[in-house]
């Protein structure tokens, strides 16, 4: 039931967002080409803006996945932590030890050096 409610909330909020855009715009003509040109202070681009971009933080995104995986495990772990006590600490310690190998590797590859 809660999920259904949530579903309706998402649906209505997104619908509201689209409706506010669509209602005033329905009779609007398409803006002319000079208006549609990208704003560069009077200058013009030579190409489209979409491009293959050098994602300099790409290794960092990989690192984020390492952390995210940790979170996947940490969520349920957080629930039973107080109940399990020492055992939970050791389990998480083991998991983090394995994970930190990945982080150390990333470090060696120079992820933390921006550029």
């Amino acid at each position: 039931m809660e999920l259904l409610t949530l579903f309706f909330i998402v649906l209505i909020a997104a619908g509201l967002g689209l409706l506010i855009q669509w209602l005033p715009m329905r009779h609007q003509p398409m803006p002319p080409y000079p208006q549609r040109a990208p704003f560069l202070g009077g200058g013009l681009p030579e190409t489209h803006a979409w491009s293959r971009y050098h994602v300099r933080y790409y290794p960092m995104t990989l690192l984020l996945i390492a952390f995210e995986m940790e979170m996947m495990f940490m969520y349920p772990w957080a629930v039973v932590f107080v109940e399990q006590g020492m055992k939970a600490v050791m389990e998480m310690g083991m998991f983090l030890a394995i994970l930190s190998v990945g982080i150390v590797y990333a470090w060696r590859e120079g992820v933390f050096k921006w550029q």
């Binding site: 000079p34 040109a37 560069l40 009077g42 681009p45 803006a49 293959r52 971009y53 050098h54 300099r56």
Partner: protein, 437 residues
């Protein structure tokens, strides 16, 4: 009826104005930044009025037309101390700085109530390149490559990345001369890889800046040092305003501007500003050594930039009047963006200190064969225009670093006319107090 109710409400909104800063037009915007009910926006898409302040050279009229056409309807134009484009002959022109805020508000209200129609489009409604139906995939090229899909070519890998040599797409654009984060008038052809600047070719120099008439008088005969130093402090505070606004520190930016327009500008106000700047991390944001000028370029840039790089270049140390006041030349060593701002702030404080002292002793300048302008030494010749040094300085920087470096450099040439002569806003002493009340 619902529509009229909506537009009546919309008429009450603060007036979003997109500033086009023409020749000697900047003073008007300082004044507007302090005016309640006017909002200077950063993109023409967010504006309902295009305000052109100051003249625009004829070769930049096309660029102006493009910016004009980029405002979404309904919008209007206002020309302050500027001749409207030929097609817009009936547009409103205004030369009185005091009437500017009122005129903007009236125009906005008239636009919303429908009394004033939207400004006409100036450029023909044509795509940049026709593309449909040509070539293998209808984009005008061969196979998957080339052509002009949707009017423009796609980005192609032209250059190797500056940092690690990876070859990816680069974007070449022409920026300016009315881009709000660049100095007015500066235009450049820039190649970007993502937000990294690969190459920068300055195409148009920034517009000349008008100094207060005191600096011109100093070349004719002795002038009171107190007034001269206050004028210098004002100049630097206005530049600081621009940089702080760019960094998103709006409140501090306004504080700097209010100080600049404060008739009782004192050391105390600047000390408070310095403390707040320290706390806001403004100096730390730019502390990575970016925008460092080497010795030769720093000398060319002159003024604050030269002294921030360690050059002991200041006409004031040649002047007997200043020596009498115990003028001490301040320098920094690093020569980067942060050093330039530290130097600027120190010089503002020093100027106010000198002013207070000189007022007390009624000291005048002694030599009139030269003067230290805020832009650099003016002796025999003007401080030269140096915007082409950007071509070597900016490549390799990311967009935000490049913009903050640009804001910290004062490269525009000096105007042969003084601020008072250019019809620009007078040194309005009460703006600061008015808006504070």
């Amino acid at each position: 009826m619902a529509v009229s109710w909506l537009s009546r409400l919309a008429a009450q909104a603060s007036v979003p104005v997109f500033p086009v800063r023409g020749l000697h037009g900047e003073e008007a915007f300082y004044q507007l930044a302090l005016t309640p009910g006017i909002e200077l926006v950063d993109s023409p898409r967010h504006a309902s009025i295009l305000l052109v302040a100051g003249g625009v050279p004829p070769d930049q009229h096309d660029a102006l037309r493009r910016v004009h056409d980029q405002l979404p309807a309904p919008f209007a134009t206002l020309w302050y101390c500027s001749e409207p484009l030929a097609e817009l002959a009936s547009a409103t022109r205004l030369d009185d700085p005091g009437a500017l805020p009122g005129a903007l508000m009236t125009i906005h209200r008239e636009l919303m109530s429908g009394k004033r129609g939207s400004s006409p489009r100036l450029l023909p409604d044509e795509p940049p390149n026709p593309w449909e139906g040509l070539g293998d995939d209808g984009h005008g090229g061969e196979g998957m490559m080339g052509g002009v899909p949707y009017g423009r070519p796609m980005a192609m890998n032209m250059t190797d990345d500056l940092r690690d040599g990876l070859t990816l797409d680069s974007l070449t654009v022409i920026l300016g001369p009315f881009l709000p984060m660049l100095p007015p008038g500066l235009s450049a052809k820039v190649t970007l890889q993502g937000d990294l600047i690969q190459s920068w070719t300055t195409r148009g120099a920034p517009y000349p800046i008008a100094l207060e008439s005191l600096f011109f008088q100093a070349l004719q005969g002795p002038v009171p040092i107190a007034a001269l130093e206050r004028a210098r402090a004002r100049y630097h505070l206005k530049r600081l305003h621009f940089a702080l606004r760019l960094a998103g520190l709006d409140r501090l930016a306004l504080e700097a501007l209010r100080l600049a327009f404060d008739s009782h500008l004192s050391l105390k106000g600047v000390a408070i500003l310095r403390r707040r700047l320290m706390r806001s991390g403004f100096f730390r944001l730019t502390a990575t050594g970016q925008g460092r000028l080497d010795e030769e370029t720093a000398r060319r840039a002159g003024g604050v930039a030269a002294r921030a790089a360690g050059h002991e270049e200041d006409w004031r140390s040649e002047d007997e009047g200043y020596r009498q006041l115990g003028f001490l030349l301040l320098t920094q060593r690093q020569g980067d963006t942060a050093a330039r701002w530290r130097q600027t702030l120190s010089e503002v404080e020093q100027s106010l200190q000198l002013a207070a002292q000189a007022e007390h002793e009624a000291v005048h300048t002694q030599r009139s064969d030269g003067v230290e302008t805020p832009r650099g030494t003016w002796h025999r010749q003007w401080p030269e225009e140096a915007s082409d040094l950007l071509d070597d300085l900016l490549p390799g920087l990311e967009w935000d670093e490049a913009m903050s470096t640009l804001a910290s450099l004062d490269l525009a040439p000096l105007s042969p006319w003084s601020l008072e002569e250019t019809g620009g806003a007078p040194i309005t002493q009460d703006i600061g107090e008015e808006s504070r009340a």
